[in-house]
């Protein structure tokens, strides 16, 4: 029985534990001092016992995972998302060290290709796939950056856009980190400099790229599942347009577009094209795991590749819950698929066996002040109760039976909830019902808990729309 080290925390750790349990695999869990009270620790202790759970110094230090993996004789490491997920050096080290370990994710070569946004854009360009206009090379100095920015502004002025803007992005950034907006060329240098400083500290790499910002757009994703045996299937599309100001997704909907709405373009055609492009690119690089291709769709139906996420994503569950393979019940766990693939199994099904049923919405419940620039809230949660329904799936690491203080080193995510409905309208209704029934209390020295529930409710009405 292969043993898997779960090199992550919170709800993804719980999801991986669940997947392991269902696949009949053994696992080892880790946690840091700040996470002692997290449910993922409790669950691991309950399931596997105290000797399968280890305290480490940081989720970012590869040596900690390897030392624990060596000590416990693990065979594979699941990085989850964030932290070391897209660190190709980590994946490569697992592959070529004296005692090799399986990295549950794509090959390290692929990770390296997609690790830099600049490089991703180059590959796309080679394949004739449209990318967001902007810089395509590392920028070395501020003058160069300013010239490119001016060019981008000019183009938008020419198009008659009233409030043109560009984005300054860290090439290595992910999950909404390391992106800033510039609305006037004068601001550029300041933002550019600040971002470089930030990026260097966070990612240890200074490369920054500039991209045009679209005032109105939808952010859609294509979920691919590829095996090591050259098989590749897609699991449909998602719409992740609802984000925080820091570009962290808050609501995800599958499928990407609502067929009852009127769009200026044919949604069927656009999603088909996105899927085609994604599969083409996956084929080109020899992709061999679960991955997501992110696209920007303008109100006119223009499609641009944004980036590739070579990992399991937070929102993978939303696609899974509307998918049906052959005659099995609706609902596929992509984490399970990812682990299976990494262990060398074949998919066991083809695209024609996959069908989609109903619609699904995912909410990310976060302790943040949406009215004050999404400022994270820190403090102790005293009461946390979520409703239970058969159309609802919830992943949380926050215990409901005892007070829990939110660790300050990580994002204050509280829970992940996936609502399923026969169609999008039903899913929306159920979503609203779920949001209304959450009971949460907590406080810190100054105030009681602030969450994004109201924000989610408000935005729920506007999903899949352009505005």
């Amino acid at each position: 029985m292969p043993k898997i080290l779960i090199a992550n925390r919170g709800e993804i750790a719980i999801r991986i534990m669940q997947a392991c349990k269902e696949l009949g695999l053994d696992y080892i869990a880790v946690y840091t001092k700040e996470d002692e009270a997290s449910l993922h620790v409790r669950r691991a202790i309950e399931e596997r016992g105290k000797e399968s759970v280890f305290r480490i110094s940081s989720y970012l230090d590869p040596n900690e995972f390897l030392e624990v993996a060596d000590y416990t004789k693990c065979d594979a490491i699941h990085p989850g998302y964030g932290f070391l997920t897209e660190n190709y050096r980590f994946a490569r080290r697992l592959a070529i060290r004296k005692r090799p370990l399986i990295f549950i994710g794509p090959r390290w070569e692929v990770l390296r290709e997609f690790g830099s946004k600049i490089n991703t854009k180059c590959i796309a360009k080679r394949l004739g796939i449209p990318v967001v206009p902007g810089s395509d090379k590392p920028i070395y100095n501020e003058i160069e950056a300013e010239n490119i920015a001016l060019e981008l502004f000019h183009r938008q002025w020419e198009e008659g856009i009233k409030r043109p803007a560009i984005l300054v992005k860290a090439s290595m950034g992910s999950g909404g980190m390391g992106i800033e907006e510039v609305t006037h060329p004068i601001e550029l240098r300041r933002v550019y400099r600040r971002l470089r400083q930030y990026v260097k500290r966070q990612f240890g790499d200074e490369d920054v790229l500039l991209e045009r910002k679209f005032p109105v757009f939808n952010h859609i994703e294509v979920q691919l599942v590829c095996s090591q045996h050259g098989e590749a299937v897609h699991f449909g599309t998602r719409n992740c347009t609802i984000q925080s100001v820091f570009r962290q997704k808050r609501i995800e909907v599958a499928p990407a577009f609502n067929h009852n709405y009127k769009y200026q373009f044919d949604p069927e055609e656009v999603t088909k094209r996105a899927i085609q492009y994604s599969l083409k690119m996956a084929d080109y690089v020899g992709y061999d795991s679960v991955g997501t291709w992110e696209w920007i769709v303008t109100p006119e139906g223009q499609l641009y590749l944004l980036e590739v996420n070579p990992r399991i994503q937070v929102e993978s569950g939303v696609s899974g819950s509307i998918t049906k393979i052959r005659h099995l019940p609706v609902g596929v766990d992509l984490v399970k698929e990812q682990i299976r693939i990494a262990l060398g199994e074949k998919l066991g099904y083809k695209q024609k066996h996959i069908s989609f049923h109903g619609a699904s919405i995912e909410f990310r419940l976060v302790a943040e002040d949406t009215k004050c620039g999404f400022k994270p809230w820190g403090g102790t949660i005293t009461k946390f109760q979520l409703p239970k329904y058969d159309w609802l799936k919830v992943y949380t690491h926050v215990p409901s039976d005892r007070p829990y203080s939110i660790p300050s080193d990580y994002d204050p995510n509280l829970a992940l909830a996936i609502v399923w409905g026969r169609d999008i309208e039903e899913a929306k209704e159920r979503g609203e019902k779920f949001l209304n029934e959450i009971k949460i209390e907590g406080k810190n020295q100054e105030a009681s808990i602030v969450t994004n529930i109201e924000f989610l409710k408000e935005k729920l009405k506007k999903i899949q729309m352009f505005e």
Binding site: P62, R93, D136
Partner: protein, 745 residues
């Protein structure tokens, strides 16, 4: 009575001196005399004057006998003792007694920027027939003082050497000769600006082409400190002085691997002193000095007036010699000066001012003198045939470059210059005419001008983004992690060794700390593929002093590195620009410089000069001058500096890049004198290591004392380069910096 007391005092001092220097060979006999002397001193008022006088005379004779006896048995270490003794003559004594009159410049006694370095404008006179001629000279030298604390034992601080240089320039302006007196155990090893090493290098660089005759006299010649004022046209040495690459104690500590704070075994110090060949006669044999000035037995003390008189004539003669060598009308006088050695009365008169032609001859001779110094102390492992072939090749190169640059390119340059000027003039006119229109256009245009940037998607060129796959350091073949030394400060995680020495190029991804990499890495990553062509590989280091046990060490180094010296010279290209590279690497005897390295260096300078190529000195590491080659090693400092100066004067571009650890002699000469010096991050540049600093100054220095950051702060280097950007930066430096005669200019 007073006279007698004085005499007693004098004799007592003599006795002390002889006890200090060579007391051990006389044993009880010295004590007897001492008792005798004190007895007389006690009864001086009771004894009849005559009896006392005779007794004292007896004692004096006895002491003189002892002195002569001791002189016969002097060993190398005794010369060190003599040179360091507080009774030994000092520069002040010489200024008082050799020169007629003097004015101290740049400070007096304690009120001085550096009391260890004395500069004086002095006159020296000679009688020819019945006429007295007075010459003006600049006297520069170390002042040890007779035991005064503030003199710091003649160990000049960086600003002391700077003062010396300042007044050398004054002498140059005024056209008067310079007499330097070297009484130093070594330079004071501190980095405070202008920096010990850097200042010595600057001094050497300036002296290499100082337009006045320079005469140097060595009493105590401690390595780099001595060279700071020692690059002279004629180098004399006192017979009882010593001239060495390192103090015998220092050598013993290194040789015996003695830990700090432990006592040095006296036998080891003694044997080191012998092996280092530090005495005047040995140095004369090695050719590092030109002549010896004979001192009275056991050396000259502060009151040997007769000796000072002799010294005066020696100095005049030496200056005459230098001047006459470059003077047109000098046949008779030249002969006379040469012939009449030891003659007390100089019967010739020589004017010491030089004209332009004589100056250029002087400089040429100086360059030749140093170029030839230390020749024959390295081996040339080429076969006879190869030598001839190489000679022919070099000759052909010379002709070729003369043809190309001198004959073919020159007219082209003239025309180009003329056209440039013409265009410049023309621009003024067109600008005048067009100004009103351009102003108007500017007013109309938008506030933000649209730049002419193309947003085309191109695959970035592979050439300069990732070179790591060509050569991977052998250090990377180990499955383990390593801690970054800055981990505590910056929270760096342990780095996996294969990553670190592979893709990360030995740089901590978090804080940018550079871990050392072997020199081969640079050879493979810095230059264009297959562009490296080594030359002079057969010039080999040998053991010129016959230093005990060094032959084995040398063999071991050759076996380990498969090379014959610590310096690699080669032609290479950086993004298409050809250059000549010299590379000091630490695997061979710690990158120390000796005769072979010096020779290879000057040959590379010459090659760069002939080919009109930039010269890059990449210092992968150097621990200084090779102590096993003694003063032959030390003279590589002036020798190479002169070569560098010649190269730069000829319009070349000389860039130095330090890496890892670069210390001592080379930094204080041919490296430190470069106008463009850079350092790789996390490297250390300096004069002496922390231990030597602690032992000489008695103070501890912070761990980052020699760091590149601090060197930059002190102005010793011009910039810090990231290893990963080395190639890019080097290319930019080649394109943007100096050198009027480079082939690509």
């Amino acid at each position: 009575m007073l006279e007698l007391e004085k005499k007693i005092e004098h004799l007592r001092k003599d006795l002390d001196y002889i006890t200090d220097i060579k007391g051990e060979i006389f044993g009880e006999r010295l004590t007897e005399i001492r008792n005798w002397l004190s007895e007389i001193a006690k009864k001086i008022y009771e004894l009849p004057r005559e009896r006392a006088e005779t007794a004292l005379n007896d004692i004096e004779a006895q002491i003189e006998f002892f002195e002569q006896e001791a002189e016969k048995y002097l060993e190398p270490l005794d010369y060190v003792r003599i040179a360091r003794h507080p009774y030994r003559m000092t520069l002040k004594d010489i200024l008082e007694n050799v020169y007629d009159d003097y004015t101290e410049l740049g400070g007096e006694e304690k009120c001085n920027i550096d009391p260890a370095m004395v500069v004086a404008r002095a006159t020296i006179s000679r009688r020819v027939g019945s006429r007295v001629y007075t010459h003006q000279v600049m006297v520069i030298g170390h002042e040890k003082g007779h035991g005064e604390e503030f003199r710091n034992g003649g160990s000049a601080k960086p600003w002391g050497n700077e003062k010396a240089l300042r007044f050398m320039r004054v002498a140059e302006t005024e056209g008067i000769p310079i007499h330097t007196y070297i009484f130093t155990p070594g330079a004071y090893p501190i980095e405070d600006p202008p920096g010990a090493a850097q200042q010595i290098a600057r001094n050497l660089y300036a002296m290499a082409r100082l337009k006045v005759p320079i005469i140097a006299v060595i009493s105590e010649g401690g390595s780099g400190g001595a060279e700071a004022i020692g690059l002279a046209d004629l180098r004399l040495m006192f017979s009882h002085g010593y001239y060495s690459v390192i103090s015998p104690e220092g050598a013993a500590a290194i040789e015996g691997k003695i830990k700090e704070g432990q006592d040095l075994p006296p036998e080891l110090v003694k044997s080191c002193a012998e092996q280092l060949k530090i005495t005047a006669s040995e140095n004369l044999k090695l050719g590092t000095i030109d002549r010896i000035i004979q001192e009275p037995p056991l050396g000259a003390k502060g009151d040997d007036f007769e000796f000072f008189n002799q010294l005066k004539h020696e100095m005049i003669k030496a200056t005459d010699e230098v001047v006459l060598k470059v003077r047109g009308l000098s046949v008779l006088r030249g002969y006379y000066v040469k012939k009449k050695t030891g003659e007390k009365n100089n019967a010739v008169y020589v004017r010491w001012e030089l004209d332009e032609k004589e100056i250029s001859k002087l400089l040429k001779q100086r360059a030749e003198k140093y170029e030839n110094m230390g020749r024959g102390f390295f081996a040339d492992r080429r076969s006879f045939l190869k030598k001839r072939v190489d000679e022919v090749c070099y000759g052909w190169l010379k002709i070729k470059s003369l043809l190309y640059f001198g004959i073919f390119k020159r007219p082209y340059r003239w025309v180009k210059r003329f056209v440039d000027d013409l265009r410049g003039e023309f621009l003024i006119i067109t600008d005048r005419v067009l100004r009103p229109f351009t102003n108007l256009k500017g007013a109309i245009e938008k506030k933000f001008k649209r730049p002419t940037v193309q947003l085309a998607y191109e695959v970035p060129p592979k050439e300069d983004t990732y070179l790591g796959e060509i050569y991977v350091s052998p250090l990377a073949n180990e499955d383990r992690t390593i801690s970054c030394p800055n981990a505590l400060r910056y929270g760096c995680y342990d780095i996996w060794v294969p990553d670190l020495y592979g893709e990360l190029n030995g740089v901590c991804p978090n804080c940018g700390h550079h871990f050392p990499l072997e020199y081969q890495w640079y050879m493979n990553h810095l230059f264009d593929k297959h562009s490296i062509k080594e030359f002079n590989t057969e010039i080999a280091s040998i053991n010129p002093l016959g230093y005990q046990g060094f032959d084995e060490k040398l063999k071991e180094a050759v076996r380990k590195t498969k090379r014959h010296s610590a310096l690699i010279t080669f032609d290479a290209r950086v993004r298409g620009i050809s250059l000549v590279v010299v590379m000091l690497y630490s695997d061979f005897r710690n990158g120390t410089v000796g005769a072979a390295e010096g020779e290879k260096f000057i040959l590379a300078c010459k090659r760069a000069k002939v080919l009109r190529r930039p010269l890059l000195a990449y210092v992968h590491g150097t621990a200084g001058i090779r102590i096993h080659e003694g003063t032959i090693g030390v003279v590589q400092m002036p020798k190479c500096t002169v070569a560098v100066r010649e190269y730069i004067e000829a319009g070349g571009l000389y860039i130095v890049v330090y890496d890892n650890n670069s210390y001592a002699g080379p930094v204080a000469s041919f490296l430190g004198c470069a106008p463009y010096q850079f350092a790789i991050r996390s490297s250390r540049v300096g004069f002496a290591g922390p231990r030597v600093i602690r032992e000489t100054t008695g103070e501890d220095v912070p761990p980052d004392y020699h760091s590149a950051e601090n060197a930059l702060k002190r102005g010793h280097i011009q910039g810090i380069w990231d290893r990963r950007d080395f190639r890019k930066n080097l290319y930019m430096a080649l394109i943007t910096m100096g050198g009027k005669n480079l082939y690509y200019r």
